[in-house]
Amino acid sequence: VLRMTQPSTVLSIFAMFLHTTFGESGCTSADGDGTLGDDEPDNFDIDCFSQLDIKDPFSSLTCNFTELPPHNTNYTLSLCTKEDNKYTCDNMKKQEDAYFLQFTDILSNRDLCMFSETKRRVCRSLVLTQIVKPEVPFAINITYQREANEYLIRYRTPHSGKKYLEGKLMHQVAYRQKEGTWKIIESPHHHVRLLGQNLENNASYEVKVRSQPNGEFFKGTWSEWSTSKSFRTAREQHSRESYSSVVTITLSILGFMLCIVMIALIIIFWENRIKPAVWPNLPDHKKTLEKLCKKPKNNFDISFNPESFGYVHIHKVDGIRAKAELENFLQPSIAPETSLPEKFWKGSELKMIPAMTDKSNLNLSVTYGGIWPAEAPHRLPGTSQFAVTEGNCSSSTYEVCHGNRVPPQNSGGSNVSSAPPLDPSGQPSPELPNDDTVSQMLPNSEMRSSNNEEAYVTMSSFYRIQ
């Protein structure tokens, strides 16, 4: 029994030692990165990028030494995967100055290891989805949109339709005038627009495009620039713009001048034409009647002073008898409410309106010709003056004197203008009254010799009558 106990004890202790040493955690090295053998710090300068889905289902890894190792040493670059405590490495192929490898698994964590001739291995970790370099865009197409005055730049990328990078790229468009500085536009889409107003007319431009992962999941570097595409801007856009600007300026100036002219016209014609039309004044009968008056001629002698007409040859007016009327005119003025009947002439209508006047204001003179009715002399007012306005006397013409004129003062009513005497029958007297008689017939009256009957009424007396 003692012999069996001792070997079993030793065996169990040895098994426990192995279990703790070679546990599920696998083999571990002193540096803890899982690499086998002696490891050195990753001090080799190398630049790598991955290209996903370059040829379905393969992706690729390309590495370049930024600092070449000594020429006399042979070395091997390998892409290794740690699995089940073992390293599985794939050697990269050397193509000129670069190392290239195709693979399908982009999810695993990889290590890039360099093996030298002395069996020394230097490794550095790689995350293939963080060093993605997209493929170069191609098929740049530039279209000028005349209506919008824009240049539409469209391009294509090889990743369209592929698995991983479709819709996950940011594109950069560079354009410049010939030999000028580059200008950059970035877009996640497959097109950009250049405004025509920002470009020179009839000039030559060139455009190029490149891509980069947008950084949401895939990260990496810019692709190589695409081949440049040249285009020439339109020639007409400048002339069109200049033409439109000239038209705009011209119309603006004309409109401004028109406004100035309109304002000036309004100011000038405001009082005389515009305001009366818009706000017509209430008719003033005095002014209205004044307007009806004809202005006397400059040489027209208007005076009710018989002495001033001493040189005037007074013609006898036949058929007018004014003796009865003279008596009436010579009498003082009576109350104006004495109404006078209307008198009718042959074919005419004569209105007689009494006027409140006194001797000092006798400025009413009436001369008329025609055939009075039989009762006319009895009805004629004896003490009042009357104003005669024209009816529809076909054989008479009337003149109404200005009312503005101050009627001459009458001295006791003796200054009476001549008036043709009247028959009781109404027929004008054939006799020519003498000057005195005539002068007493009517105060401030005149005699006109003609078949045409004329009446002179001062506007001021007419105004007073009213």
Binding site: V1, M4, E24, T129, K163
Partner: protein
């Protein structure tokens, strides 16, 4: 008998050593965000291609088989990762079925390996085919 205990007691450590150790199948537990991001950006494209290939070869491998022998993979609640691991490991068995089209086998293996890689799982008792 004290001699009996002295002889059998050291065997216990041996039992402890030789007893099967539960392998940690998946190490991506409680990292659902990282799993989802990798699925949405990488694995989903390969799964879509696998579905298209299987649609082209529908029922081809099941012509002469009875329906009750078809295995169905269930995704248990709160055991999504284990369910995915089980599915991926079972799908790896197609790789050796020569009756299945080569394109389907390769794509199925690719999806299985990608799934296990994202979940950081291993198949128990199976070798992962590359």
């Amino acid at each position: 008998n004290p001699d009996f205990f002295r002889s059998t007691l050291p065997v216990l450590p041996l039992l402890l050593v030789l007893s099967p150790v539960n392998s940690s199948s998946c190490t991506m537990e409680n990292k659902t965000t990282e799993i989802r991001v990798k699925y949405e950006n990488i694995l989903i494209h390969d799964i879509n291609e696998l579905v298209n290939i299987s649609a082209q070869n529908r029922d081809r491998c099941c012509k002469n088989k009875k329906h009750e022998n078809i295995k169905v993979f269930f995704c248990n609640d709160t055991q999504e990762i284990e369910s995915l691991q089980r599915m991926a490991c079972n799908m790896l068995r197609f790789f050796h079925k020569e009756r299945v089209s080569k394109a389907f086998r390769w794509k199925a293996a690719f999806v299985s390996c990608g799934t296990l890689q994202i979940l950081k799982c291993k198949c128990e008792g199976h070798r992962k085919e590359k």
